[in-house]
């Protein structure tokens, strides 16, 4: 096309030269102007675009998210056509792709929307938003503009747990307990007749005066649960045929346990040797024991971003980080296997006054041997093979 235009311009110039007619210059102006202004127009419109993408950046699996793309033409010239395309990973795709051809008048604003579906835990890029436009005659190549990339965090799945039977050696907490050794004097439960040996400090003098015989206060036993979840994401310690499923199950277990613990107003921390997507070169930063919803969200965000990899052995990681934990803390070890070295480390932890639960996720051949070994050490072992396995904590 451009060659034809150039040919016409040359013809017109020669015709003008021979006939000395200046009106042919007007036609040349028209052609050259169409070419130059078309090029300029496209570039100008793209530089005058203002756009933003609005969506919920932190969601739970299964949620459908509406993404709103706001485009504003700040120019006094119209954008005759504008192809908008947004990119997102398949794990978020509600529809295969989002692309649309829009038209914007001078200083007009436009809202486009599409849906995403959070199908799987992860930390996903959304974007870049891509705009392309061209001139009316197709004389120049299309020009494009790229926006920034946003991110969406999809939290791991959380199973609602009823009682995960987490042991504790910390008395006088807020959790009711069956062992009378953990009676909490701030939680009076009832009264009974005095028995020989009862402490005088436990006699309820008002009730004694009222009944005319000695009454002793009965206190509810309670414990304080301080839990550190150690999540093993070293792929070498999972069955190779169960890398994806086993690690995801482990992350779900860690998330569900943290949720249960914090919902009981107890403190929980997270220690993992997996890689955080925000810092892939090193292990995720440990999250110390804290209470509260904000802390839970912090743990869940880390669990959303975490990735399994071939990294340092779990026992080594455990050895490095358990020394900072206070006496009586409960360690929940979530892993894909349990070898001799792990039991050696468990023994060391028990000697340091820590309580332990071992949660084995995925397919593990030596589960019986591991159970026997753990039983001899007084450690509870839970084996989670699939989603149904969580029922063990839901009864």
């Amino acid at each position: 096309m451009i060659e034809t235009l150039i040919g016409l311009a040359v013809f017109l110039l020669f015709l003008g030269a021979f006939t000395q007619e200046t009106f042919v210059i007007v036609i040349v102006y028209l052609g050259v102007g169409a070419w130059l202004l078309s090029r300029w127009w496209t570039g100008h419109i793209l530089s005058a675009l203002q756009f933003s993408r609005q969506f919920e950046t932190k969601v739970f699996p299964g949620e459908t998210i509406a993404v709103k793309v706001c485009i504003r033409n700040r120019s006094f010239l119209p954008a005759v056509w504008l192809r908008v395309q947004d990119y997102y990973p398949m794990e978020l795709a509600e529809q295969p792709q989002f692309h649309q051809v829009a038209t914007l008048g001078p200083r007009e604003q436009l809202e486009l929307s599409y849906l995403l579906k959070a199908q799987k835990r992860g930390y996903y890029p959304v974007g870049p938003l891509d705009f392309s436009s061209g001139d009316l005659l197709g004389l120049s190549a299309e020009q494009s503009l790229r926006g920034a990339v946003d991110h969406m965090t999809v939290y791991p799945r959380i199973f609602s747990l009823t009682n995960p039977f987490i042991p504790s050696s910390s008395p006088m907490g807020t959790l009711r307990h069956r062992q009378p050794i953990f009676e909490d004097p701030s939680r009076p439960m009832g009264k009974r007749d005095y028995q020989a040996g009862d402490s005088l400090r436990r006699i309820d003098w008002k009730a004694t005066a009222s009944l005319g015989r000695l009454q002793t206060k009965i206190f509810e036993p309670s414990i304080a649960l301080e839990t550190a979840i150690f999540l093993n994401l070293n792929l070498d310690e999972y069955s190779p045929k169960d890398w994806t499923h086993g690690t995801e199950l482990a992350i779900c277990a860690a998330a569900s346990l943290a949720n249960w613990i914090i919902s009981k107003r107890q403190s929980a921390g997270l220690y993992t040797n997996g890689a955080d997507q925000l810092n892939l070169t090193d292990s995720a930063a440990p999250i110390p024991n804290r209470k509260g919803r904000a802390h839970l969200m912090r743990i869940l965000e880390t669990l959303a971003r975490i990735k399994a990899r071939q990294t340092m052995p779990f026992t080594q990681y455990l050895r490095q980080h358990r020394h900072g934990l206070s006496w009586g803390t409960t360690l929940i070890l979530v892993s894909g296997s349990a070898g001799e070295d792990l039991f050696d480390e468990i023994i060391q932890a028990q000697r340091a006054g820590l309580n332990l639960i071992l949660v084995l996720c995925g397919w593990f051949t030596d589960i019986h041997e591991a159970r026997a070994r753990a039983s001899s050490l007084g450690v509870t072992v839970v084996n989670l093979l699939d989603d149904d396995s969580f029922k063990i904590w839901q009864t």
Binding site: M1, T4, L5, I6, G7, L8, F11, L12, L13, F14, L15, G16, A17, F18, T19, Q20, E21, T22, F23, V24, I25, V26, I27, Y29, L30, G31, V32, G33, A34, L36, L37, W41, P78, V80, W81, R83, H99, Q100, V101, A102, T103, G105, E108, Q109, L110, E111, L112, G134, L136, L137, G138, A141
Partner: protein, 531 residues
């Protein structure tokens, strides 16, 4: 404001696009007809009806194209034949009625005597030319537009590359046809305004430089609008293939914004100065003439040895030499003065040429940038190293020639300057004898003469007697024979005689010396001329 995306409503939108494109072509044909009518009016034919005729003919052509689309082969040929006969006959009937019914019997009588001569009158043939032009272009464009929009639908199921290639092909064909017709439109307008009074005597008094040319501008605006619609068809095919939802108001916006854009562009083009293009045109003419001179010079160079060889066989040797090629044309005259402020004129001129050169440089740079692959291919061609070597050799030759020329000029200047300084020195000696005797003064004058001619020659050789030298010198410069003989006689007398030299002889010899000097400043007269 929210736009609900929807897939293109193919049929309705395509029909609207086809209808609009057809209407644009019909209007463009009317513009062509208007320009042709202006040209015929210039030639003394009242042909204003041709504008309407072009419009109706183009509309009929488009109607016929869609009408016969579903008709089989033979019927189609019959329809076309009927169409091609009916329209010229209708045109003739219109012309007959326009001339008046009273002329009809005379016209029919004339047909009986000389049918072809009287039926195909000049005006009728001229109108038929436009009929053929409009009919051919309308038919081709109607077909191409239909195929373009028809192929667009294939994008839904066919390979996009194949569809795009087909669409590009038809778009280029439409553009080429429109631009060819545009060339005709510009030619009609230019010819209608051209001052041919000197070349064509019968056009005396019919020169009208104010023939309107708005139709040319309108034609090209319609062409641009039409081409923008074809570009939309191309994009629409791509979007259809990609299943990209398109805003429902895009087709309307495309058309509206396109019309506004090209309208504003036309207004700008109309308002921009054009008078400075005269300088551009003159420069172009000058460049063309220069090229023609070069071509003629090269042809002469090529033919020179052949001509020389041929002249050897010629019996008449006194034949005149072929005329020299004409001298290079004069530089274009400056742009005509006007009453406007010279500074403003300078600014306008500066702007015009600045924009013109900037556009050319920009276009070239864009072309080079967008054709890097082509340049790479060209650089790999075997002819490129040869061309490069040739250019380098040519450049070296030019530099060498420049050096030679410079040295020649320098030597020449030195030669010219040397005698003049010598002359001044001699003259000083002649004017200021400084107490010399008349004998010595006479001898000095002769020696000064010898000194003067030593460089320009022929110089006196050692052992040559004054008389012998005078004969040699006179053979070369006969114009100074009398003066030289007098001077030689005086010198011989002063040098070799015993008697004193008469003092009044000295001023006389000085006068002779001055005459010799003046004559020697001029080139020697052609000796052959006297033969």
């Amino acid at each position: 404001m929210s736009t609900t995306p929807s897939s293109l409503d193919g049929k309705a939108q395509r029909k609207r696009a086809v209808d609009f494109s057809n209407a644009a072509v019909i209007l463009a044909m009317a513009c062509a007809g208007f320009g042709y009518a202006q040209l015929l009016t210039r030639l003394g034919v009242d042909a204003a009806y041709l504008t309407l005729f072009s419009l109706l003919l183009a509309a009929e052509t488009f109607y016929s194209f869609y009408h016969i689309k579903d008709i089989d082969g033979n019927e189609r040929i019959i329809f076309r034949a009927a169409e091609l006969l009916t329209i010229p006959i209708l045109l003739k009937i219109f012309l007959l009625f326009r001339n008046g019914l009273d002329q009809l019997p005379q016209e029919i009588a004339a047909w009986q005597q000389d049918f072809f001569g009287s039926f195909f009158s000049g005006e009728y043939i001229a109108a038929l030319f436009l009929f053929v032009l409009i009919w051919i272009f309308s038919t081709i464009l109607a077909q191409d537009i239909e195929i373009l929009y028809d192929n667009e639908q294939d994008a839904a199921w066919d390979e996009i590359g194949k569809v795009q290639n087909t669409l590009h092909l038809y778009r280029r064909r439409i553009a080429a046809n429109l631009f060819i017709l545009g060339g005709f439109v510009v030619f009609f307008a230019a010819a209608a305004r051209l001052n041919l009074r000197q070349s064509v005597p019968f056009l005396q008094g019919q020169f009208n430089p104010d023939v309107p040319v708005f139709n040319v501008l309108l034609y090209f605006i319609l062409v641009l609008v039409l081409l923008s619609q074809t570009q939309f068809a191309l994009l629409r095919a791509r979007w259809t293939w990609r299943k990209t939802p398109v805003a429902p108001r895009l087709p309307r916006n495309w058309l509206v914004y396109g019309l506004i854009f090209f309208g504003v562009l036309a207004l700008l083009a109309f308002l921009l100065p054009t008078q400075y293009s005269m300088g551009l045109f003159d420069t172009l003419i000058y460049a063309i003439n220069l090229m023609m001179v070069l071509v003629r010079f090269l042809i002469t160079l090529i033919l020179l040895p052949i001509g020389f060889c041929a002249s050897l066989f010629s019996s008449n040797r006194t034949e005149e030499l072929p005329p020299l090629p004409p001298a290079s044309p004069q530089l274009p005259p400056p742009v005509g003065e006007s009453a406007a402020n010279p500074l403003w004129q300078f600014i306008q001129s500066f702007l015009f040429w600045g924009i013109f050169l900037a556009v050319i440089i920009f276009a070239l740079s864009q072309y080079v940038r967008s054709n890097k692959a082509l340049l790479a291919v060209l650089s790999k061609l075997s002819i490129m190293p040869i061309a490069s070597k040739f250019f380098k050799s040519f450049w070296a030759w030019l530099r060498g020639a420049n050096r030679t020329l410079s040295s020649l000029i320098t030597t020449g200047i030195r030669r010219i300057l040397l005698p003049s300084s010598l002359t001044r020195k001699i003259e000083k000696q002649v004017r200021q004898p400084g107490g010399k005797t008349p004998r010595e003064q006479v001898m000095q004058l002769y020696l000064a003469f010898l000194e003067l001619v030593r460089e320009s020659g022929p110089a006196r050789e050692a052992g040559e007697t004054p008389y012998h030298y005078s004969q040699i010198f006179i053979a070369d410069r006969p114009d100074v024979s009398a003066e030289l003989l007098d001077l030689t006689e005086a010198f011989v007398e002063a040098r070799y005689s015993q008697h004193p030299v008469d003092p009044p002889k000295v001023p006389l010899l000085q006068t002779i010396w001055k005459r010799i000097r003046e004559k020697l400043k001029k080139p020697a007269p052609n000796q052959d001329a006297g033969l």
